[in-house]
């Protein structure tokens, strides 16, 4: 080798040694041949101390079966393989090293498994290239969290924690189109608090809010995980029941009615008792839209009110439409 090439070779080595990317070269028996400064700094071992040692002994956190499968396929096919932090947070567990700005207990890593061919074209070594992507990972997780929180906020009613009207109607629309396809029974319960204005006028708005919260809480306790509860208006609530025929929905409606009737809300030393009126409607193929189902349940609710409140009414599909 000429001198000038030797110079270049030294530069190259120095660059590889000091770059902020980890490089480990292993042979086909998973023994370390060499690693660069990045790995030396984070592992605390000089390359001269580890040459010839098993990678698995040096880094017991590596899942051996997985790693062997990955490396063997890289060697067999002669094509690089990758890991990304979303799927595997790290290959080598390096503890966080930035006490001021670091928030993570360990370094997130993206890695490349690069096949190295010898002069005969045989893959005799594998280079593991390790990128520190902690900052990217943290930012992206924070963003996802924030988006998730925003989505949650945009879907829930602040006072009750139930779904708000907009999002609940989206759910109903989806259930409606699913019904068109599969015709699984779907029912809807709509109810409101009887004489709510009187509660507000007598005990104040905060008492009214407490009553609304209590009704929401009772609803949450009574329904199944698959039922979709929402606050439809001021004192009006809705429960969408997928895979539930009308008789099942009526049972739930009656249970709700009784639970509310029996509960007492205490506000400012005063015990407040109240009742709800409910309307139930089952989705049929005659329903032209999801709004039609709401109308049917609403008209059943109207009849509960007319019939003296604190009762459930099932919408009768044989009745002419309003």
């Amino acid at each position: 080798m000429k001198d000038v090439n030797l110079d270049e070779f030294h530069w190259l080595l120095e660059i590889v040694q000091s770059m902020d990317v980890g490089i480990i070269v292993i042979d086909r028996d998973y023994r370390v041949e060499v690693w660069n400064g990045f790995i030396e700094h984070h592992s605390g071992h000089k390359p001269s101390e580890v040459t010839g040692q098993s990678l698995f002994a040096l880094f017991p956190e590596i899942d051996r079966d997985w790693f062997v499968r990955k490396v063997e396929s890289v060697a067999l096919l002669g094509i690089p393989a990758f890991t990304i932090w979303e799927q595997r947070p790290y290959l080598l567990r390096f503890n966080g090293y930035q006490p001021l700005t670091g928030r993570e207990p360990y370094m997130y890593q993206n890695t490349t498994f690069l096949p190295l061919t010898d002069s005969h074209g045989v893959v005799a070594h594998i280079a593991l290239i390790i990128y520190d992507v902690t900052r990217v990972a943290v930012n992206s997780q924070q963003l996802r969290q924030a988006n998730g929180e925003l989505q949650r906020l945009s879907r829930t009613d602040r006072l009750t924690g139930l779904l708000n009207r907009g999002y609940w109607e989206e759910c109903l629309a989806i259930e409606f189109s699913r019904f068109q396809r599969y015709q699984h029974p779907v029912t809807l319960i709509i109810f409101d608090i009887d004489h709510f204005k009187r509660i507000n006028d007598t005990h104040g708005h905060q008492a009214g809010d407490a009553v609304i919260r209590q009704v929401a809480e009772i609803t949450r306790q009574q329904v199944r995980g698959t039922d979709v509860c929402g606050r439809y208006g001021g004192e009006e609530f809705v429960v969408l029941l997928p895979d539930t025929p009308a008789d099942g929905a009526l049972l739930l409606a009656e249970r709700l009615r009784r639970s509310v009737e029996q509960c007492v809300v205490e506000h400012g030393g005063v015990e407040i008792r109240f009742t709800i009126s409910l309307g139930v409607a089952a989705l049929t193929l005659d329903c032209g839209s999801h709004a039609a189902l709401i109308e049917q349940a609403d008209s059943a609710l109207y009849r509960s009110k007319e019939g003296g409140r604190n009762r459930c009414t099932l919408h009768d599909n044989s009745l002419p439409k309003h």
Binding site: L77, I79, P80, A81
Partner: protein, 334 residues
């Protein structure tokens, strides 16, 4: 010695040119061409040939079907298959269908010569004879690129077949100049209204850059993990299977492509797209180019419904360099 009647059948003008250019010197032949299987049969029925060079992956009627038809129609013509499909099973199948030999694309002149000698079609150059060369006009960038892709995807398909232990059916790749608006449509098309997961990898080599997008239909995932014989229970494990397949398909295809012009390339880390969201929506806002080269390859696994759609999208800036590489590959003819 009489002239040997040779018929070359391939849908790509570039492939025919490459093959004919590899013909040995001083070979006394008369040359005919066909650009798909149907045309090949028609030509042979009109006038028999002494030797047929046959591609496998063709529109209208592929090479396997031609071999079957020749047998059925009692047309006896010695056939050398020339294909980018490097799966062992492809070799076994064409030999079982009566082919004489199987050469891999791009054809190596020495290998071709050895095969011709072995089967007695060529002994030594005849001084007074000029091997006929093709004059089919210039090859379009699209045709040339389709042929390069054909060879590259054959290599990727063979690796995939080896890993999954199945025969991979190779399609005719779709190579198109795509307007930005059409990308959206192409993606929606590939998605076919189903849930997909997509893995994206950027690549760059000698100023030729782009992104590869591999689409998996979520409903196919069980088939794939079943073939791999892997226990897959968590999302992370499922993702890992997809990443492994993506590095094989994308890595091998790009390597096969760049190797043909002896180019080096670097492939970036995979990026996961979609996961429930419509990918075309994700991409819609990010398109800054007007018109670029897009390659679509749809691999199918024999006997399964499973298929993978691979899309290679080159940057607009890469096109002049690509054209340069291709014209270099084609020598003076392009």
């Amino acid at each position: 010695m009489d002239e040997l009647a040779v018929l070359v059948c391939d849908d790509s003008l570039m492939a025919r040119k490459q093959l004919i250019r590899a013909f040995p010197e001083g070979w006394p032949i008369s040359l005919r061409q066909a650009s798909n299987g149907l045309e090949c049969l028609k030509t042979l029925r009109a006038e028999p040939a002494d030797l047929l060079f046959l591609d496998l992956t063709m529109p209208e009627m592929d090479g396997y079907q031609v071999l079957e038809a020749l047998h059925r129609l009692n047309i006896d013509v010695p056939t050398i298959v020339v294909s980018g499909d490097v799966q062992d099973a492809a070799l076994d199948r064409v030999m079982a269908l009566g082919a004489l030999d199987f050469l891999h694309k791009p054809v190596d002149p020495e290998e071709l010569c050895a095969s011709l000698r072995r089967h007695g079609f060529y002994l030594k150059p005849q001084a007074s004879v000029l091997t006929p060369r093709l004059d089919g006009g210039p090859v379009s960038l699209r045709d040339a690129f389709r042929e390069l892709t054909n060879v590259a995807m054959g290599r990727a398909g063979a690796l995939l077949g080896r890993v999954l232990g199945v025969f991979v059916e190779l399609p005719v790749p779709n190579v198109n100049m795509l307007e930005a608006g059409e990308l959206h449509m192409a993606l929606a098309d590939a998605r076919n209204g189903q849930q997909v997961t997509a893995i994206c990898q950027g690549y760059i080599g000698e100023g030729i850059a782009g992104e590869a997008l591999l689409l998996f239909h979520d409903s196919d995932l069980n088939d794939i993990t079943g073939l791999l014989g892997r226990e897959v229970s968590s999302d992370e494990e499922r993702l890992e299977v997809l990443l492994d397949l993506a590095s094989i398909l994308i890595g091998a295809c790009l390597k096969g492509l760049f190797e043909q012009w002896s180019g080096q390339l670097a492939i970036g880390h995979p990026v996961l797209l979609g996961q429930g969201e419509a990918i075309e929506e994700l991409i819609r806002d990010s398109v800054r180019w007007k018109r670029t080269l897009a390659v679509e390859i749809s691999y199918s696994l024999e006997g399964l419904r499973t298929h993978f759609d691979l899309l290679l999208l080159f940057t607009e800036d890469s096109l002049p360099r690509l054209a340069e590489k291709i014209s270099y590959l084609m020598g003076d003819e392009a």
